[in-house]
Symmetry: C2
Subunit: 215 residues, 2 copies
């Protein structure tokens, strides 16, 4: 894919392994929005440096900066991208269809990711095997709900034949599932969609292993 230079003075703060960062990178690549790349190393706690906190009080990644302001939260950023760059849409047109796609997103973005993220795992237990058990439980429980939800609507993608926010949430979460040894066998529909998405140029360009600092 040729990335069109449609934005200047637009910066993405992200971490290669953060699943929420991948959602936003993928949308930017899909829409052809150029961005300045600022890696924030979560393992080195760079998100809590005074410099970054002054810009972004939440201390989260991903965050975007434009017109002198910094904004966080991946789903909020996705909505902004869709509103300001409507070409190559990532939401369907009818309100009911948009509701269904956003519901799919939240099953992952509220129902799985926040519970299995690093800070929550570490607070639950200092023991690595307990942390992994915690993460894999919430991932499996959430993917089961996601599979049931998408099955009546799925085709090449979670919602029919067009890429949407739901796929942008799914694939990074499946990446985490694999890291935590969660079997995808019980979820054939989402596994098939995940495999298809991983062939798309914008997905590949935004994938964790293709970011600066990936190890």
């Amino acid at each position: 894919m040729t990335t069109l230079k449609t934005e200047i003075n637009f910066t993405l703060y992200h971490y290669w392994r953060s699943s929420c960062s991948w959602r936003v990178r993928w949308a930017l690549n899909h829409k052809g929005i150029a961005y300045a790349d600022r890696a924030i190393n979560l393992l080195q706690n760079e998100q809590n440096s005074p410099d970054f906190l002054a810009k972004n009080p939440g201390g989260y990644v991903p965050a975007v900066e434009f017109d002198g302001e910094v904004f966080g939260e991946s789903l909020a950023i996705l909505e902004w991208i869709e509103e300001t760059h409507p070409a190559s849409p990532l939401l369907p047109k009818s309100p009911a269809d948009r509701l269904r796609v956003r519901q799919m997103c939240h099953v992952i973005a509220s129902g799985i990711q926040p519970i299995q993220n690093l800070a929550v795992m570490r607070r639950h237990s200092s023991d690595a095997s307990e942390q992994a058990k915690w993460a894999s439980h919430w991932i499996a429980t959430g993917l089961e709900k996601f599979e049931a939800l998408i099955t009546p609507y799925a085709d090449q993608f979670c919602f029919g034949g067009a890429l949407s926010f739901a796929d942008l949430c799914l694939v990074p979460q499946v990446h985490n599932a694999i890291r935590f040894n969660v079997s995808l066998l019980p979820y054939p529909v989402l596994a098939r969609i995940n495999a298809h998405c991983l062939t798309l140029p914008a997905c590949i360009a935004s994938a964790p292993q293709n970011q600066p600092g990936a190890s």
Copy 2:
């Protein structure tokens, strides 16, 4: 407030104490959208009854039913309400302002609520005092971020002088904070906004203690 009967065959499945249910009830009351009321008792596990799961595979509340379909996830439902009932808006007009309001929502809707909900607390520990410690930690941590985020924008409400999705997320979360004995003294801005919102008729009508089944 006089509730206008602008919708028929529209059902809300909710639980009086669920903070996510309150978000949706408040929006419906604010917009004057009439709804049929179906209480789902989470303590009696009614969300996992075969009947409810057949309609709503996630088994979550709140959920709404119209045109023969059931949809879940409170923020997705809020977006649908705003798209289909634009009068008495709950989002500002400019994309950057909408991004800021949605960011505020997610600090609560992804960053606090999912981690302190009943199922996650119970999985963390079977001990009631450990559960309370867990919940109050995540609520306090999240409200601190929320306070820092809204302070430059807050007036009567989280984002200036108009009610928005951000207030609909804040007030139910503060209600939970009080239940878990989290002091609001470190968060004077959000505490002031919360107190103001609690005087609004649509907030009062949608509050937990005013729902069927409240105890």
